[in-house]
């Protein structure tokens, strides 16, 4: 049980790592929000899942059930609020005139790179 919990927490950290790398490497604001918004949700939920399993492996009395329920609520709230905040940020960026880098914009840039 503890091994499974540790694996879940490690997986969560790997996804967090992916999110951070994406945040640094992606070209513009919108693609960066992709990395940040998604890496957040799953990795937090995985880490909380790991906590739940670890909590169970320590024996199950009343206090443990208490902690279990609270952790489940935290996971649900993160699933609810994380996409909402991602959307709010993206919308704010879009409406303030920050045009996303799209398919058509990208090609001339690549040509420029080839020339240089």
């Amino acid at each position: 049980m503890e091994i499974v919990a540790a694996t879940l927490i490690l997986l969560g950290i790997v996804f967090f790592f992916g999110a951070v790398i994406g945040l640094l490497r992606f070209p513009d604001f919108f693609t960066r929000m992709h990395a940040a918004g998604k890496g957040d949700t799953l990795s937090t939920v995985l880490i909380i899942g790991g906590f739940i399993l670890y909590n169970f492996s320590q024996g199950g009395d009343a206090a443990n059930w208490n902690v279990l329920v609270k952790l489940c609520f935290i996971a649900i709230f993160i699933m609810l609020t994380s996409p909402t905040s991602t959307h709010a940020l993206m919308k704010a960026g879009y409406e303030s005139g920050n045009d996303p880098e799209t398919l058509d914009d990208e090609e001339p840039e690549e040509k420029e790179e080839n020339v240089s």
């Binding site: 609810l80 609020t81 959307h87 919308k91 409406e95």
Partner: protein, 253 residues
Amino acid sequence: MKKLAGIVVFTVGLILLYGVSSLDDFPSWGTPDSPANKSPLSQYFIKNTIVDTEVPNMVTAVLADYRGYDTMFETVVIFVAGLGIFAVVRVFEHGGASRVVTADTKPDIIITNTCRLLIPLIQLFALYVLAHGHSSPGGGFQGGVIMGASFILVALAWDLDIALKRFSEKQAFICSGIGILIYAGFGLASVFLGEEFLNYGIIHKILPGVDSPEMARYYAMLGVEIGVMFTVTSIMFLIYGLLATRGKMTAGL
């Protein structure tokens, strides 16, 4: 210039590290020998809180009972802060000459729907923090702030008019006054029963089903915290509304 700044920051950091770690001015973290823990006052609280008040959380007992005067006037300070901001910022517009301020964007369905799901839960959590102030971290101030945040969330997700329909300016001021009256009422009740102001133990004579002064303190502390929560909730919301709309208290932001 950058190098100079770097050197300054580094030196200050070193001095701070030296000050924190190597001098004997500060006791190490959490040691029982620290002056704060050795003083007779803290010894008294640690030994007697549960005997005097039946409250497991010492902080709540100190805050709402042993140090009741201080907390009462803290609540008054919050109330006066709200009044002060109202007096400085609030603009009353007479006549129809003023520009009508409306929100420039429609409420977003994703944000409003998430808020619809979350706001009742936030309010429930605020009440939980209030009611559990006895046995876990929490109490009137924290619960009040969370409760106020739930109303501010309405104003952020929709606009201030919708929030004011639920909790109008007048209601907010009345509630903040009621909070202090509840607090002072518990104090006066103990005066009329023949004890000092805010010495709640005596209230067991009029509370039904409570036979010991200790349990009376326990319940009176909850009542006092409810009063604090009323004040903090409404003043939080008022300050947000006044500052966000430059005193107009209309849709705006």
